[in-house]
Amino acid sequence: MTLYWIGDIVLIVVVLPVVIYLLRPVLAAARAIVVNVHAIRDAAAAGSKDLDAVPLLLTTQAQVKQTVETVANFGGSLDVIVDDI
């Protein structure tokens, strides 16, 4: 009977605090990870939205090509009209 009482005391005074002590940081870490994952999700979504303008690069590409062609055509004239030193 004495051993039963000793076991009860150990269970309530030692095991129960140890369980609480071990599980509390696990819960805190899990909750912190939730916040970080939501931040990552929001950042990725915002980054994806920012890249909606990427198709405009095709317009830039076409404009650059036209500009360079113009410069190339202008260069021939410039070669003629610009006086040599």
């Binding site: 994806s48 690069l57 410069v71």
Partner: protein, 216 residues
């Protein structure tokens, strides 16, 4: 049942309750993490898909710009010569001549000459193509800079023009119309006056006096 057994059962229940109190929110948090990661992975997938065509497009743009830079550099070197080209570049962008010209590796070993303040207008235009350089913006203790105001005046003097000589007064433009103080007779032939200002007979534009002359 002895009292010790009842206390034991109560103790076990307390331990299980404590574990459950912490593990259940942990499970809920893990579920939320899993859901959030799924959404993040989907967004990252969109990022990858949207950035996929960027590289070839940017490479193409860079290729075109490279061709333009090559052409303009070549034209500048053709017009000004390699040494003077570096001098011009150094005067417009202090320190830039050290990098040299891309298609002229020997240009990195050339000491850029000190360019005087007089350039031809066309060469300056060529050197300034595409941008207006912040000339003389750096410290006077830095590399040799072109004197902006003097160079403009000196360049102007290369071209003959009455207005560029900055005379005291310039002849005023004629007033035309029915209310003009001087009425001109209509010309039958373009470029030929029926009567000259001094009252002589008519003449062609080639024989006309320059503005300001013959008005005394």
């Amino acid at each position: 049942m002895p009292a010790a057994g009842i206390v034991l059962i109560i103790g076990v229940v307390l331990v299980i309750a404590a574990a459950a109190a912490f593990l259940l929110p942990t499970i809920a948090a893990l579920v939320a993490i899993n859901r959030g990661l799924d959404e993040a992975i989907a967004a990252v997938g969109e990022l990858i898909a949207k950035t996929e065509p960027v590289k070839p497009v940017v490479d193409d743009i860079n290729g075109n710009l490279d061709a333009a830079v090559d052409a303009l550099e070549g034209l500048l070197v053709k017009k000004a010569g390699l040494s003077d080209s570096l001098g011009l570049i150094e005067s417009l962008y202090p320190g830039a001549a050290a990098a040299g010209l891309r298609n002229y590796p020997e240009s990195t070993s050339i000491v850029p000459p000190r360019i005087s303040e007089v350039y031809t207008r066309g060469t300056l235009t060529l050197a300034r193509l595409g941008r207006e350089a912040p000339i003389a913006a750096s410290s006077p203790n830095g590399p040799v800079l072109r004197h902006v105001e003097r160079s403009e005046v000196a360049t102007r003097l290369l071209y003959t023009d009455v207005r560029q000589d900055r005379p005291e007064t310039l002849p005023r433009s004629p007033v035309i119309g029915t209310d003009a103080p001087t009425q001109y007779e209509a010309s039958d032939t373009p470029g030929e006056r029926p009567r000259m200002p001094d009252g002589k007979s008519g003449g062609t534009s080639a024989t006309l006096v320059r503005p300001g002359e013959g008005e005394e």
